[in-house]
Structures are given as C-alpha cells and as structure tokens.
Symmetry: C2
Subunit: 245 residues, 2 copies
C-alpha cells in the first residue's frame, strides 16, 4: 500500500521536506491533495481527516502521513518515522534521535522563514503587516541566517566522517532538507544570499551534490515539483530582501 | 549515571517541559547550569559543550540532555527519547510517533508564545518591539489560543480511552507539557484566560489532575521549580493581555 502524503496543493511548503525524502528513495506514495476527487483524493479528503469527530489521531495541521491506519504529523516526526525504511536514516535508536536533533533545528528555521512575511498574524495578509515584515526580515538576514547556516556549516565541518553529509557517512533526510533550505533561502532572498557559497562552502557543496542525485534531479524536472511561489513558506518579496549595496 | 539536563539557569523556559517529566518519574538527573562550578557544573559547562570545536553532536540551542556520551537536543526529541524509560510513553514505535505528533504541536505553540513578546527580533529587547508585540499578542489571544487549546480539548474528547489523558489510558509526557502550557498561559495572560476552564473543561481537569500528582506537587513546592518570570517564555506584561472588558 502506498504512503499517503497530505499537504496543501499548490505549494512546496512544509510538505516539500517529506516529498524530497520519498522521491530520493523512490518510495511509492500518493500526494493526496493533488489527486482527483473522483478517486477520493483532493484537498477535501485531507480536510475530512482533519475535521473528523471520532479519529483519535487528528493532526493539528498538514503535512501528515498516512501509513495504513497510522497517522503521523509534523515534518520532523514523519521523516524520523520514514527514515530507516527509506534508507535515509540509521536504524540505531540513539542515532535516530541525534539526527532528529538536527531536523528539529530546521523546523525552527522554517518557522522563522514563515514569520519573515507574517510576523504579526497568520490570519492576515502579508500586505497588512508589510512594515513589520521588513523589520523582521532585516533581523532574519542579519542575525538568523548566519546563526542557522553557520551552525550547519559547523556540523558538516565537525562530522568525523567528513563534511559531505551532516550525519554519518551517507545521505540522510537531513541532507535533503538542508538542500531545500538552501534553495529556498536563495529564492526568497537572492541579494542577501548572493555570497552564500563563499561563507558556507560545505553547505553549498551539499546543496550541489543533492541536486545532482538522479532521483532528485528527475524529481526537480518533473511536474511533481511545484515551483516556489508567494503562497508557500519561502516567498520572494523584493522589499524584504537586502537592498542593493 | 544521572541524566544531565542543560538549560539556562533562572528560567523555566523550554527546559521546564523536560524537568516535569524527569520529576514526575523521580528520575536521577542533574540540572547542570544550576549546579556549582566547583563540581564542573554551571552555565559555563553548558557553553563549553555548545562551543566545542570537535564534538559532532553540538546542539543548536538549549535545552539538551546528556545520557552518557549521547547528546540529544530539542524538547520533543528529549521527551520522545526519555518517554518509554521514564514510563511516560508507550514502548510501541508507531505509538511513540503518534505521541510525538502531539508534542510537536506544543513545540509550535511555545514558539508562538515566545513571539508574542519578541515578534520582530530575538536579539532586541522587548521594549524595542512593544507595539508589534501588542499586535501579535492580540492575534495570539483572539485566534491562536482558541485554535491550539480547542485542538487539544478535541484530542482529549476523542481519546477512545476517555478524556483524562491526551493519549491512551495513562499519563504521558504530553499530559505534563499540557499542564505547563495551561499554567503558563494563565500566568502570561490572566485576563484573556480567565474563563479557560469553561471553554476547555477537559484541559482544565487534566491541569488540575497533574498538579495533584505527588511527585509534581512536591516539585512545584520545591526550590527546583523556578517561578515564572519575565526572562522566560511565558511572560506577564499586562499591556499584552486582553484589556478589561
């Protein structure tokens, strides 16, 4: 039975971190909201689960994964669950928690990226909080990007197996998520990230290496990869980017 | 060997969710930053690990847990790791992930609580972003508290084993974390939360039940329980609370 991924149609968003892992592993999965209502798919199928009055495992928000009857929500949790089966995480229990530490730092980063364009209210439009978004984005660019990327550069640097991967000597789902973060930050803040590769060479190399992996390369060229857009997490609003020097 | 908990001294903060689980279980642990430098403890011991140039498992931020040589960071990850050993989570792998889904929703809630007083820049004082904090707090009180607490009330309601616990038929670490959330929201926003028990009766009952557990009651009376204060996550700034009706 294929995995069922439930996430909003039309955006990469948080679902993309899960898609990348499933695609890299060549896993059998259905992106439910993008499927036809005639097959019981589409966004309505997702909302039915979220609105269930009897299901004990109701998710707070997408993305969530259905594996048979099991429902698991939150990106880091889904990836930790899938990791060993997909060959993208060690099977050792303690190591899985070490890997999860790294993924949860990405979770925090992604929440901060969201708040660069929605610093006051998720329920309101960007345009209604644009001035605050400019202030928050300036802080994000000046302090938070260096803090997060500097941290992951250091984790790569200090990996006893070498800086090609963030953990151990093989690819894990955290490497894939770092590819997406790097890609997303460059999309959202092209001026502020123009010299990213100079400052974070190991991250840049990891990003390039992931992009060339056959399954990932195929996926990025497919129509399953939704382009970045201004409904997702990583949004390109030029006024939030660093101004030209 | 006792567990070593690393978290900033002087605040409950995110570390408190871990402390509550360790205290409930009567686990042997050392709250490192609160210990004496003469024993190699204190904040400096924490910063030494975070600043290590060789350690592969460097945490991005506190709290983190040391269990022998293993270092695990992020509250939800620490609790998922400790859960079965402390008797506060099922041992079944799938169920542990279901429980983790709930805890990660609390993680998101806690990040939003932090941002009520720091909506623009963690690096700046509250006083420098007070106006934005008022706007974000109004949104938090009007929309986010009902969304989160409504969700957990529903999870309690839909628990097939009854609404006394959030998962299964016994106490888990998520119940303890919900106690802390309930306690913290009432501290931070006493006016906005004045009628919480009417709206969320199962949550209120869970809060009362946790508070009466012998180990928790003893802990709350001890000097190991740091009082809420305006350096932590839950801060009481009257101007951010709902105004009197």
């Amino acid at each position: 039975m294929p995995y069922e991924l439930y996430y909003w149609d039309g955006i990469q968003g948080r679902g993309e971190f899960v898609r990348l892992a499933l695609e890299e592993a060549g896993a059998d999965y259905v992106d439910i909201c993008r499927g036809p209502a005639s097959k019981g798919q589409g966004t309505r199928a997702m909302l039915a689960i979220m609105g269930s009055k009897s299901e004990p495992g109701i998710p707070f928000a997408p993305p969530f994964l259905k594996d048979g009857d099991l429902i698991i929500s939150h990106v880091a949790n889904i990836l930790m669950y899938l990791g060993p089966t997909l060959g993208l995480a060690p099977r050792d229990e303690a190591q899985r928690h070490e890997l999860n530490s790294l993924q949860l730092t990405i979770t925090d980063l992604v929440a901060e990226v969201h708040d660069t364009h929605h610093p006051i209210a998720t329920s309101k439009y960007y345009e209604e909080q644009k001035e605050e978004a400019k202030a928050r984005s300036a802080e994000f660019i000046d302090n938070r990007i260096p803090k997060y990327l500097g941290y992951f550069e250091r984790v790569l640097q200090q990996n006893p197996h070498g800086p090609a991967h963030v953990f151990g000597n093989g690819l894990t789902y955290v490497d894939l998520s770092l590819f997406q973060v790097y890609e997303g930050l460059r999309y959202a803040f092209p001026r502020a990230t123009a010299h990213l590769a100079d400052r974070y060479p190991h991250l840049a190399a990891l990003h390039a290496a992931v992009m060339k992996r056959p399954n990932i390369a195929r996926y990025l060229q497919s129509d399953r990869r939704i382009p970045f857009n201004e409904d997702g997490i990583f949004r390109h609003y030029p006024e939030l980017d660093r101004s030209e020097a």
